[in-house]
Each structure stands twice: as C-alpha cells, then as structure tokens.
C-alpha cells in the first residue's frame, strides 16, 4: 500500500464511526521501489491530499525525511519538493502491517501490499 492510497482511505463503513480518518499505520515490512517521476501528476495530486495526514503518515513509518510540515503555496515550482512528494506517495510501500480505525480501534490487515478493508458479516448487521 502506497501512502497516496492511505491518504484516500477511511473506515467510515464501520457502524457508529463518523469519519474513520486518518487510519493509523502500523508497518512491519516496508519496501521502497523506484518509480518514474511525473511532475505534472504530482502537481495535480497535491491539492487532493490531506497534507497533514501525509506528513504524519510518512513520519510514522520513518519516511518523512525532508517533507515540510506545511505546504508552501507555490509548490508546483519547487522541483525538489515535488520529487520528495513523489517518493513518499509512490515509492514507499507498506508490504505487511495494519491500518487502525481512529475511532473504534478496528484493525485492517495489509498483506503482500494489499489492504483488506472487508468487514465481517457481524459488523454490517
């Protein structure tokens, strides 16, 4: 699971959970692979992100290095920054671990890089 995906996922499907966001990450295996850099894409994605959530998530798994806590207004002109965001969004992947709902504590396993957000039949009653 890449952090771009983490930034978009919630556990609001759970009964009684209001926002279910952000999910906490507990990673036991992280892999970093090189991915072609596309500055236009990164520029388009940044406005769709919750920046603080990205910053916190990256730091929580030890890959926040160099990422500013707040986003500068003219980020699209800062290629260095775009490259860092690219790396954090697309190159760092949680292979094994868990996502935890901030409200209920319900955990969703990540295995072989794929999060499993399925609920049990008991939870959807």
């Amino acid at each position: 699971m890449k952090l771009i995906t983490h930034n978009m996922l919630t556990s609001k499907c759970l009964k009684g959970v209001m926002t279910g966001y952000p999910l906490a990450i507990n990673a036991t295996d992280i892999k970093v692979t090189e991915v072609d850099f596309n500055p236009e894409f990164i520029t388009r994605v940044i406005p769709k992100l919750d920046w603080e959530v990205l910053w916190a998530a990256a730091n929580s798994i030890g890959h926040g290095e160099g990422l500013p806590k707040t986003l500068e207004p003219k980020f699209e002109e800062n290629e260095d920054l775009l490259k860092k965001v690219h790396k954090v969004l697309l190159e760092v992947e949680v292979e094994e671990g868990n996502l935890t709902c901030p409200e209920s504590g319900r955990q969703f396993p990540i295995s072989k890089g794929i999060p499993n957000m399925l609920l049990t039949e008991a939870e959807v009653q």
Partner: protein
C-alpha cells in the same frame, strides 16, 4: 503579415467492420477529448465502414489515430467517386486545379461525385526525391495480385517520379474499392472508390499487444483487450488522470486506462482474486505463478509506474474519503451469470463473531441485486467524479425488454454513450457512458427504474426454457423414430 494556409484537408477514415455500435461513441469521445473540430463532408452511416471528414491539420489526424482502436487507418483524400472512370477523371482534372483549394462538384443525395482536390496536394507528395508505393484495398471482394497491379497501372498519368519502395516508403498512396458489406451480395462494380495518401494507422495493433492470450494474469471475466481500450477512450482517459475500477477483478480495464497515461486504483470484494490465488483460468494450468497479479500485468505492458494500489473492499461499503474526486470510473460490475453478485452480510439476526478468528475470517455474503449495484454506482460516480468527467460501465439486459428510459439514471449524470454488444439471442450488454454535469448532488434513493433486478433470473429461466424445449423436441423426434421403426418391423413380420 503572413497568413497561414488555412485550408482544411479532407480525410477518409476507414474503420474495422466490427463493434459498429461503438464506432460513434468511441470517435466522439476522442474528438471531444482532443478538442478537434471535425466537419463531416458526408453524413456517417453505420453500414459503411468509413467516414469522410475535413480536419484542420494532419496533426489532428495523427492524434485521433493514436487513440482509436476501431479506426483502421486515415487517408488524405485526393479523389472519391462512385465509379472508377469518374475517380480517374477527377484526378486528372485535379492536376490542373491550381485554385489552391477544392473545387466542389454538385451534390446528389448528399454526396458529390466530382470534387477536385488542389494540385499542390498531389504534387507536393510526389516529388522525385521521395520513395513511394501504392496499396490497393478492396472491401468485400477478393482480387489477385495481378489484378491489383492492373488497377495500380491505371494511375500511370500521375507524376509519380520517385523510386518505388515497398517497405517503409516516404509516401504510401492508397486506392480503395468498396463493394458493400454483404458477402452474399457482392456487386460487379464497386459502390465507392477512393484514392489518396496514407497518413496514419489507428490502434488495431494494440489488440494483439494487449491480447488476453498473452497476458500473465487473467480471470474468467477479464475484458477483451479491444473493448477495454474502447472503454478507456470513452472515459476520455488522459495522461496523469486518476482512475478507479471498483469491481476490478483481474484489472483488465486498468491495463487499458494506464496505457493512455492514467494512474489507477482498483478494488474488489474477492480477496483471492486480488492476491492472484483463485484457481487458474487457463485450460491446463495447475497453479498460478508468482507474477500473476494486476501489478504484474502492468509490469508486462510497461505501465507499472502508474499502478497505485488495489484494495480488498465491498463496493456497497466503500472506503474512499469524502471529497476525493476521480478523473474517471471505468468498471464492469458483476451480472450474476459468471460470478455471483454479492456483498458482505448475513440474514441471521444478532450474529456475532469471536475476536480471535477475525484476521482470516471469510465473511458470508448476501445477494447484492443489480438494481442496488447500479444505483450505488451512479450515486458514487455523482459524488466522486470530477465535474465533466465520466463513468463508463457495462449493463446487462434481456434484449427484447430493452427500453432506453429504463437504463439507470441520475440527475447529476448525463448519458452520452450507449452501445450494444449482443451476447446471445436473448441477452446483450450495453456500454453506458455518463458524464457528470453538476456538482450539486442530491442523495438519490434506490433507482426504481433500474428494471434489471432479475437479469440473472431472466437470463437463466429463458435459457432454461429453451433448453427444455430442445429436450422435448429431441424426445419427440426419438419417439417418432421409434414408432416408425416399430411400424416397419410390424410390416416385416407380416
């Protein structure tokens, strides 16, 4: 001031003679995506595998051809007529047409037989320095090599002074004859003949490159490569888009979207499918290999950089954050014929699960009816699509019950494409394309119009009854045969 030469050029666009009902939808999606103005010289007709159009530049032609999978090729049209004689006559006259523009003949039934192209069009392509060849194509009628050469020789009056080169020449001229589309009724003379310069091929080759036969990971409902490409075109996918398939299966729709530059997400309720651990689909294959995954497929086609993630998730309880907007949603929901339509749930009341078997628990499922699926899908698209962007999805139906008004609908979504693919005598599926036209999303209750709730039931009961009929018919024949035999043996005995 130097005014650019603003003459629009005339092109023949030749299409594959299949998926005819998709031609218009695919082409219109592409021309509106690329924002290319197209003038129709002649009203397109589904029965004819070609369009005659005017476009502002050759660059436009190349752009369109770089996307369309139904387009075979594009020819810069120099002459077009209903008879061979007329075609040559026009071309000869064109060689003297120094007005710098087309001289348009009078139209009959919307078609003109005597249009003359400017001579520069011909002369600039036929310089002595350029290598060339002439291709002959005849639609719906076969000719021998010798006959084709004879047809080429009739063009000897053209100032073709460069050397002939059959492989990769600088200029390819094309002569086409159209004998209609009915192989059982081929006329002596062609209905339509064309001559011009080849400009570009469409994306027919991509069908082979993306063929499921050579794809690493497939499932039993993987989408045929050509249809997947049509879907990506209708979704107007472009470089840097974010695209979602919420019923992703083996990811065949993501493969096509990523080919056109999209970054892709998928989700599916089937854990084993996303982990590449379902039973192998290919005949004779015992186990799935390690690389069998959606990501592996994208690696195979060189688009892994645009793979975002896949998530195991039930669409009826999806996990996308509010406010997120996708550039396109492309999907093939389950119809319940080759795969069940299900969501997580249970019919027992007050059911509980003990904590400890949570991680590996395979949840039980309840029926997720088609009307619910489509109503969820349209509501989702209305909320989660960027304005002006598209949802492209298949919709199954029993053919004789089809009514356009009964297709799924939503006030925020405008139906802009609706093409039928016939599956059997009874059943078809339609590729529906919706465009988001307003951001003001009311929460829609279940769409009562989704008159498909029991497609699966209808499909099976109708299939069933014909099977039963066949059986009865066979039984009847057997009985008649036996009776005849018995009668014969009786006469023998007397």
């Amino acid at each position: 001031m130097q005014e650019e030469h603003k003459m629009w050029r005339r092109y023949l666009m030749w299409f594959a003679h299949e998926h005819m009902d998709f031609r218009h939808a695919e082409m219109y999606s592409i021309i509106s995506l690329l924002n290319i103005p197209v003038k129709f010289v002649e009203k397109p007709c589904v029965q004819k595998p070609y369009w005659i159009v005017e476009l502002p530049s050759e660059d436009c032609v190349r752009k369109i051809a770089s996307r369309s999978v139904l387009l075979k090729n594009c020819i810069e049209l120099w002459s077009r007529a209903r008879t061979e004689v007329q075609l040559h006559d026009n071309l000869k006259k064109s060689l003297n047409n120094s007005t710098g523009s087309w001289v348009l003949g009078e139209k009959k039934d919307g078609i003109s037989d005597t249009c003359l192209c400017p001579k520069e069009l011909i002369e600039s392509s036929l310089s002595p320095k350029k290598t060339f060849k002439v291709d002959v194509e005849t639609f719906c009628k076969h000719f021998t090599m010798k006959e084709k050469v004879e047809k080429i020789e009739k063009f000897s009056y053209l100032p073709m002074r460069g050397p002939v080169k059959l492989r990769n020449p600088d200029v390819t001229l094309a002569y086409l004859e159209f004998y209609g589309v009915d192989p059982n009724d081929v006329p002596e003379k062609p209905y339509d003949v064309f001559f011009g310069k080849w400009i570009a091929d469409g994306q027919r080759d991509l069908i082979q490159v993306h063929s499921l036969k050579k794809r690493q990971f497939i499932g039993n409902t993987s989408m045929d490569a050509q249809l997947a490409i049509i879907m990506a075109n209708q979704a107007q996918v472009k470089l840097g888009d974010m695209v979602l398939d919420p019923f992703v299966g083996s990811g065949s729709l993501l493969v096509a979207a990523a080919h056109f530059g999209a970054y892709v997400w998928g989700s599916d309720i089937d854990y084993l499918m996303l982990h590449g651990r379902t039973r192998p689909t290919r005949v004779g294959q015992k186990i799935r290999t390690k690389d069998e995954s959606i990501r592996g497929n994208m690696r195979q086609y060189g688009t892994e950089a645009r793979y975002l993630d896949v998530v195991v998730s039930d669409f009826s309880l999806h996990n996308w954050k509010p406010g997120l907007k996708f550039d396109a949603i492309i999907t093939d929901p389950p119809y319940g014929v080759r795969e069940p339509t299900e969501k997580i749930g249970i019919e027992k009341e007050n059911y509980t699960l003990s904590e400890h078997h949570l991680p590996n628990h395979v949840p039980s499922k309840v029926e997720y009816g088609l009307s619910h699926i489509y109503s969820d899908l349209l509501n989702f698209a209305a909320t989660y699509l960027e304005m002006g962007r598209r949802l492209v999805c298949w919709f199954p139906l029993v053919r004789e019950e089809y009514q356009e008004e009964q297709l799924p609908s939503h006030p925020c979504l405008k139906l802009v494409g609706n093409s039928e693919q016939v599956i059997s005598k009874l059943a078809a599926r339609r590729l529906l394309t919706y465009e988001k036209i307003t951001d003001d999303v009311p929460n829609m209750p279940l769409d009562p119009n989704a008159g498909v709730h029991n497609f699966r039931e209808k499909y099976f009961t109708m299939g069933e009854s014909t099977r039963r009929e066949r059986k009865e018919k066979r039984a009847g024949e057997v009985a008649a045969y036996l009776a005849a035999k018995m009668a014969a043996s009786r006469t023998d005995a007397t």
